[in-house]
Symmetry: C2
Subunit: 192 residues, 2 copies
DNA sequence: CGATTTAGGGTACGGTTCGTACCGTACCCT
DNA sequence: AGGGTACGGTACGAACCGTACCCTAAATCG
């Protein structure tokens, strides 16, 4: 009968999250179906609903699994190149399916502030940490003013890029836009 | 029987759009249901699907119907107050229930690039024009550098506020956030 | 003024998906 | 060995989308 042993606990949970992440990558959040996730994970909806209360929660949890690859902040010795490298990594990089997924999640989470908070915190494209890192180095080199080291200021370029994704509905933005964001906004904003 | 004459054409279309806009304002895009719109408009889904191919198209059309009021840029004689006034007008949405609807649509219209394009073109909280207007006046007063008069730079505050709406899922942002956006980002960016 | 065309009203239906409930069974622990 | 827990399978109700069908009011035209 080729019966494998019945999975339990963490092993099964991991399989579910992996299946959900695959579905997200293939069909995006609108295509994330509980039944298909269950089938792909070789289990049933029961095991899913015992862990997450609804589809949105599963989606957010699975997104965690996908977007695990943190951006490692570049260190070119030049703030402009660092910022461009970060934007390009988000834009072209492997996280471009992640952008689509994130967009779908933002639409689907609805009125659940807790899930939105999770998305916003850890979320999206590495969060504020890499930006604060490159800013710290720039301040040390005298290329940025110390007052710029706040999350709001540091992530302005990220927010502008995200805005391009959201309003234009694209998964990739023209490189000239990245240059424009850096040269017209980011450097004048944080520069000394 | 108090039978009113059967509505047709533009009259019925107007009633449907009005009902859809009301539903959008109350429950947001996820709560926009064809059957409820039909019931609220005193008709049935038939009349709706004869005019719009699907739910998303109806949502965008309903937004169009109520989004006429443009923001008139304030003129306080002070760039900081002008910018705050614009942000507050968008935030409170008192100028238009349309703003709230737009937020719901932006978060709710998922993977339909055509509709997203329509929203982005015609809409978006007044667009860059009022921001360019207050910047022009500020430049004339010596409160802003001339190079800041580009759409990308001028609308940074708007984009940051929109980002708050989208990532936090709120319909209203705390006023302190507006002040932070203006003082930490906008003024340092455009100031001379 | 009567006949024809058009468009709205009412309703039912298929398909899909969410989320829940029930029941039998394999696994873990003591 | 025995019990509690968690998994597998399945069926079900509810909501919603989009479509189909028939009937009727209204506009249009001969």
């Amino acid at each position: 009968m080729a019966e494998k042993t019945r999975r339990r606990g963490a092993e099964l949970e991991d399989a579910i999250l992996r299946a959900a992440a695959d579905e997200l990558a293939e069909a995006g959040y609108p295509g994330l179906t509980m039944e298909r996730v269950a089938q792909r994970a070789g289990t049933n909806k029961n095991a899913i609903y015992r862990r997450w209360p609804n589809r949105a929660a599963l989606g957010v949890a699975a997104y965690r699994h996908v977007a695990e690859d943190r951006l490692t902040p570049p260190d070119t010795g030049n703030l402009r190149d660092d910022a461009l490298a970060l934007l390009r990594a988000i834009n072209c990089g492997q996280s471009s399916p992640a952008a689509r997924i994130l967009r779908g999640l933002l639409t689907g989470v609805g009125d659940e502030p807790e899930l939105r908070q999770q998305l916003h915190d850890q979320a999206a494209e590495g969060g504020p940490k890499p930006w604060l890192t490159i800013l710290d180095r720039a301040v040390a080199r005298g290329q940025a003013r110390p007052g710029a080291r706040t999350p709001r200021v540091a992530t302005v370029a990220l927010v502008l890029l995200r805005n391009e994704f959201l309003t234009r509905g694209l998964t990739t933005v023209d490189d000239a836009v990245l240059v424009e964001i850096v040269d017209e906004v980011y450097l004048p904003l944080v520069g000394a």
